[in-house]
Symmetry: C2
Subunit: 240 residues, 2 copies
DNA sequence: CCCAATTTGTGCGTATGTATT
DNA sequence: TAATACATACGCACAAATTGG
C-alpha cells in the first residue's frame, strides 16, 4: 500500500527516464494530471515537488512543469546509495573482496577512527571494490552490533543495505558526509597495488549513517583512486 | 510578502541554531505549532518538511519531530552557495583576486572547456581565492552575456550572485555538479605558487548553473588545493 | 495484551493569490 | 483583458505508528 503520491511520482519518473516526456517538454498541468489519476491536485503537487527536488523537472509559476535533462549516468556517490545499488544502476563490471571482518569494541583511543563512543560493540569491516578488474575503492566500515546482528562475509560481499532493510527491517534514513583528499597509507598501497607511485592522495568520503529513529549505527570511510573518482550531484539554490 | 510557511521554517531554523531547541529535543506537535502561529496544520507541515530536508529535524511517525545535531561549520560547497556567502557564514579570512576578465565567443573547439555551444557570447573570468592569505581555490567561470550584462572586475571581486539576484533580478535555481581530481597544470602552479611539489592533483568542482526558467547561463570550474579541501553534506536515503 | 491518547501521514475539497501567455 | 497554470492556505477525515496506562 504505497502512498498515492509516491505512485504518481514513480510513474512520471519512469516516463521521463523512458523519454515519454523528453527533455524540455512540459508535463500536463496539475489539474489534468489530477483528473487523469482521479486524485486531488494536492496529491499531484506532492508528487511533482519530489520530482523537482530530485532534478527531474523544473516547475514554473504560470507556465507549467518542464522536464530537465537527466544527467544519465548520475549519482555515483551522491545521496545515500550503496555500492551494490550503483552497480545495478550503472551496470558496472564490479565486484567486492572482503579483506577483514571482525568484532571489536571501541575505546577512548580509537574513538576518532571508529566514529563511536568508547565501549561500543562493533563490527569492523574492510572491503576492496574492483571496477573492471581494477582496485578502485577501499571501504572501511564500523557497524554498531546492537543494531546490526549476524553480519557475515557473504552478506558483506553482497549488499549490506539490502540485508539491513529487507531482512533486519531497519530504515536507513540519513547521513552526514564529508569529502576530503587524504594522504595514501602503506595499507592503501597494499590493497591498491596498481596505484601509480606519483599519486599521493586518495579521495575520501566519510559517512555517519543514522536510522529513521535517529540511531547512529554506521561509520564508513571510502577511499577512492583519484583517477577513477567522479561524484555527480544535482543541487538547488536555497530559497532565502 | 514571504509565504507563511517560509516564516515558520525560518523561525524554527534560527531557534534550532540558537539551541532554543537543543539537539535530540522534540519540537511541539504540529497541532500546537499551528495554534501558536494561528495557521493550519498544513502550513506547519510544509515548514517542517523543509526543516527535515535540510537536516535540522527528523520527523517520526507517531512520536514527533526531533532536532538533529547540526553539523555546525557546514556547507563548504554543498548546494549552490557562492564563495562570498560561505565567507560570511564561516567568517573566513578570505579575499579574491581577479586574474582575468574578458569577453569571448565560444567555438566548436572550446566547447568542452567553456561548456557552451559554439558562437555563444561569453564572459571569461578567472579568480583566485585566498583563505588566510593562502591561494586555496582557482575559480574559472564562463557566463552567457545574453543573460549577464555589464560584468566588471569590481563585481567579480565581490559577490556576483548578489549582483545577479539583486541588481539584475535573476533567479538562480539549480546546477549539475561533478567532483573529480584533476592533474595540476602549469597555470595552476603559477596561480598557486605555494602548492607543494609532491601534490599532483587538484580537486575540481565543475558546475553548470541554470535559472528558474531553465536557461543555462554559467559554467564554473573550481580547482581546490587538496590539503585545504573539505566538502560536507547532509544526505537522505531515497524512498523507494 | 489491549486500549486510549497523542502524533504524524495521506488525501480530498475549496478558496484566493500571483505569474505567464 | 481573459484564460491558464502554479502557489499558498484553510479545514476536514481517516490511517498508521507510538506511547503509556
Amino acid at each position: 500500500m504505497t502512498a498515492r503520491y509516491i505512485e504518481i511520482y514513480q510513474q512520471f519518473k519512469t516516463d521521463i527516464i523512458q523519454e515519454k516526456y523528453p527533455a524540455n517538454s512540459f508535463l500536463p498541468s496539475e489539474a489534468k494530471i489530477a483528473s487523469q489519476f482521479s486524485c486531488s491536485r494536492d496529491t499531484v503537487r506532492k508528487a511533482l515537488s519530489h520530482l523537482e527536488e530530485d532534478g527531474f523537472i523544473q516547475k514554473q509559476h504560470g507556465r507549467g512543469s518542464q522536464v530537465l535533462q537527466h544527467s544519465l549516468v548520475n549519482f555515483p556517490i551522491s545521496g545515500l546509495t550503496s555500492f551494490q545499488e550503483l552497480k545495478q544502476v550503472q551496470r558496472l563490471d564490479a565486484n567486492t573482496k572482503v579483506v577483514l571482518l571482525k568484532r571489536l569494541q571501541s575505546t577512548a583511543m580509537n574513538r576518532q577512527t571508529t566514529g563511536f563512543p568508547a565501549k561500543t560493540k562493533l563490527y569492523h569491516l574492510i572491503r576492496v571494490r574492483y571496477i573492471n578488474g581494477l582496485a578502485s575503492v577501499i571501504d572501511e566500515d564500523y557497524f554498531d552490533r546492537s543494531v546490526v546482528h549476524n553480519l557475515t562475509a557473504e552478506i558483506a560481499a553482497g549488499s549490506i543495505y539490502e540485508y539491513l532493510e529487507n531482512t533486519e527491517k531497519l530504515t536507513i534514513s540519513y547521513a552526514e558526509k564529508s569529502v576530503t583528499a587524504e594522504l595514501i597509507s602503506k595499507q592503501d598501497r597494499l590493497l591498491m597495488p596498481d596505484l601509480p607511485e606519483r599519486e599521493n592522495r586518495l579521495i575520501q568520503v566519510e559517512s555517519r549513517v543514522h536510522l529513521a529513529d535517529t540511531t547512529y549505527f554506521q561509520h564508513t570511510i571510502s577511499r577512492h583512486r583519484p583517477d577513477k573518482f567522479q561524484f555527480n550531484e544535482f543541487s538547488r539554490r536555497q530559497k532565502k
